[in-house]
């Protein structure tokens, strides 16, 4: 386990986990998750969003329990519990999941740009430039990745203020009656709502890079809490702003709400919003690709740089080949599905298994 160790100078302060967790959650999902939730939970969608968010606090807690017990990353946990082959297999699945996630993020963002700004944007060239940016960031090491996550949270934060516009134009009666949906509807909504929350599972890999990891736990929870708060605000604003059937037809509800924003010096805020969103997407890409590269480095003994470049090329190629909206949607929903089960089922199972294995080993 020698290569699992991380040099002290590469480690980050515990409070930066706040930004890492938060920035990974806020990505392309928040641009249009509302439709999926309201389809099930109607005007109670915000309750689903809140419930899904709160339930994930528990999952983060479990993650920390697993990782702190192992004092290493998920790859060590896998190896420890399942042995080299099965453990390695599970780790590879995880890595593929992260790569797929980065493809989804990039392709969805390009789609948004194509639909809203530049219909003839060349996705190869844009993808190339964007991935160059990612590579430039990654070659600076994990500290730079964390830095860009920090700015990816702080700089676009002003976008939350723009939610004042839909709130101002909103019909708050639409939120009533509260809790008018059955538990099963709320659950279905919560399942849809949990999708934009996913992504914090990258924590499983970069965990050893945290200085004093036990201390970082509350920061991770805090980062997640901020996401919950943001999503609830966005959800409430959306419910009030759109009528239910109108929302059903709106693919990117958040972007549509920006259309109503108007300031003395600028009209049509969505263009600024979409452009600024590049700053939100960038850390997403950086973290997922970094995590995938790190995972590969841990599994087969190659330098991380050598693992990263093929990943970036793969992302570029797959990104270029996905053309239709249907395919992108399919990718999005399948990634979400996998993420959902991984978070809600695999993590608790892993926790139980680790608990039992450690108990048994102790007895022996």
């Amino acid at each position: 386990m020698r290569d699992a160790e991380v040099k002290e100078q590469h480690k980050i302060s515990p409070f930066l986990v706040f930004y890492l967790v938060h920035t990974m959650q806020v990505g392309v999902g928040v641009m249009g998750f509302q439709r999926i939730v309201t389809k099930e939970a109607g005007n109670d969608a915000w309750i689903s969003v809140l419930a899904a968010g709160l339930s994930l606090h528990l999952i983060i807690f479990l993650m920390y329990k697993i990782l702190l017990k192992e004092n290493g990353d998920i790859i060590s946990v896998h190896k420890n519990l399942f042995g080299k082959w099965l453990g390695g297999f599970l780790s590879w699945i995880l890595i593929i999941y992260f790569i797929a996630m980065s493809i989804t993020v990039l392709r969805t963002y390009i789609e948004v740009v194509q639909v809203w700004m530049f219909p003839d944007l060349n996705k190869w060239i844009f993808g190339c430039v964007f991935l160059l940016l990612v590579y430039y960031c990654l070659s600076g090491g994990f500290k730079v990745v964390t830095g860009i996550s920090f700015f990816g949270v702080v700089l676009p934060f002003y976008l939350l203020l723009t939610m004042a516009f839909p709130l101002y134009h909103g019909h708050f009666r639409d939120l009533l009656p509260v809790l008018n949906h059955s538990i099963s509807e709320l659950y279905a909504g919560a399942k849809g709502a949990s999708l934009p929350y996913l992504g914090f599972s990258t924590l499983l890999i970069y965990f050893p890079f945290i200085k004093d990891p036990a201390k970082s736990h509350r920061w991770a929870q805090g980062g997640h809490l901020l996401t919950v708060f943001m999503y609830v605000v966005v959800m409430v604003a959306t419910i009030a702003f759109f009528s239910e059937r109108q929302l059903e037809k709106t693919i990117w509800a958040t972007l549509t709400t920006w259309k109503i924003a108007e300031m003395p010096f600028v009209e049509r805020f969505e263009y600024i919003g979409i452009a600024t969103w590049a700053l939100v997407i960038l850390p997403n890409m950086c973290i997922t690709v970094w995590v995938a590269g790190r995972g590969i480095r841990r599994l087969i003994k190659v330098k991380q740089r050598k693992a990263t470049i093929p990943i970036l090329i793969l992302v570029l190629i797959v990104n270029g080949m996905l053309t239709e909206r249907g395919n992108i949607d399919l990718l999005n929903s399948s990634i979400s599905e996998v993420g959902f089960y991984m978070t809600y089922i695999y993590i608790p199972l892993l926790f139980l298994l680790q608990f039992i294995v450690y108990k048994v080993r102790k007895l022996q």
């Binding site: 639909v115 003839d120 060349n122 059937r245």
Partner: protein, 356 residues
């Protein structure tokens, strides 16, 4: 190292560029109007301002006829030296004929689908000939911006209820509401707000005259306005109030007894009084008279809505918001016409100007 970098940059610049729309090389359509043409075709009238270097603005009017609205657009392009763009569309006008007979949804769908069109654009229905209206020059101004400002300030500070593209779709898709749009006319070279067109689904079924806008606005939303409202006090005296702030409240407590009460409360300042002395008693009378007048108008209006089966006040949505369980709109639509909708007004005069 340098060569690949240069190569990359040149490739970027050569092929990475997206189709640009430099402000002075495009035709920004600011108003578009739809009328019925010949043989069931649609006539589309588009106005694009031409900003001259000396600061004057001329408006180019393009008129085309086609089967569907999409075709009209490509025909415009064949006529114009610069490509047409829709991002600055401020207003779409439909003729009364189209609104009453065909419904406007078919023509508005493109406005909703096109991401380049802002949500703050207005929709309006014209009582008079649109071609004539849009060919008129309103001073050194871009027609679209002029008409947009006209509607905008009237809905922000005047008696016109707030409408825009987003609002229209909100109401159109919401089952407990019916949309309405401003009704405009061209009179002696000036555009005037003639009232409101009330729509059922996307078809115009009734209208409210401009005089009733104040009452409608009290029934419809909370607002504050700089416009004044005048009432006849009998015996030849008039009083008008301004700086009006109004609050509306829908009381649904008696819903079980099939009764809905809309309460309006208006605060205002006396601006003009033709009588002799403005005593407390007179103020009291003004308040009472105004209340009676608005209440009478409002009740009549509500009755009309119920007869037509339209719900521009959003009572359906209000009832839904207090009903637990799945709300059955069909059942509500039947019930709507029977519900006893009451309207109570309260006028409070806070000041009587700077003189006693």
């Amino acid at each position: 190292m340098k060569l690949p970098v240069l190569l990359c940059i040149s490739i970027l610049l050569l092929s990475g560029c997206v189709e640009n729309s430099v402000v002075d090389d495009i035709q920004m359509v600011t108003v578009i109007g739809y009328e019925k043409g010949e043989d069931g075709k649609i006539k589309g009238i588009a106005v694009a301002p031409q900003f001259q270097a000396d600061g004057t603005i001329q408006n180019s009017v393009y008129i085309e006829e086609a089967e569907i609205s999409k075709e009209i657009r490509s025909q415009y392009n064949s006529e114009s030296p610069k490509p047409f763009v829709s991002g600055k569309l401020q207003l779409a006008i439909y003729s009364r004929e189209i609104a009453e007979e065909d419904g406007i949804m078919e023509l508005t769908d493109t406005l909703q689908r096109d991401p380049f069109i802002g949500s703050r654009a207005f929709l309006a229905i014209s009582d008079t000939d649109i071609e004539k209206m849009l060919s008129t020059n309103f001073g050194n101004a871009d027609t679209g911006h002029f008409l947009h400002s006209l509607l905008d300030h009237n809905s922000n500070y005047g008696m016109l209820p707030k409408t825009n593209l987003h609002n229209f779709f909100y109401y159109y898709f919401s089952e407990g509401n019916d949309p309405f749009l401003p009704l405009i006319t061209l009179e002696e070279g000036k555009v005037k707000i003639a009232g409101l067109a009330l729509l059922k689904e996307d078809k115009m079924v009734a209208e409210l005259p401009a005089d009733d806008l104040f009452t409608f606005k009290i029934l419809y939303e909370n607002f504050s306005s700089n416009d004044s409202f005048t009432t006849d006090l009998g015996n030849g005296d008039h009083a008008s109030i301004y700086n009006i702030a109004s609050k509306r409240n829908i009381d649904l407590k008696m819903l079980k007894k099939n009764e809905i009460t809309i309460k309006g409360k208006v605060l205002g300042v006396i601006k003009e009084y033709t009588g002799e002395e403005l005593s407390a008693k007179v103020i009291d009378k003004i308040e009472k008279d105004m209340e009676a007048e608005v209440e009478a108008k409002g009740r009549e209006m509500i009755k009309k809505f119920q007869e037509e089966g339209i719900d521009p006040l959003g009572l359906g949505n209000a009832v839904r918001s207090v009903t637990r369980g799945k709300f059955d709109y069909d059942q509500w639509k039947d019930r709507y016409q029977e519900v006893d909708i009451k309207f109570n007004m309260q006028v409070v005069i806070t000041e009587s100007g700077v003189i006693e």
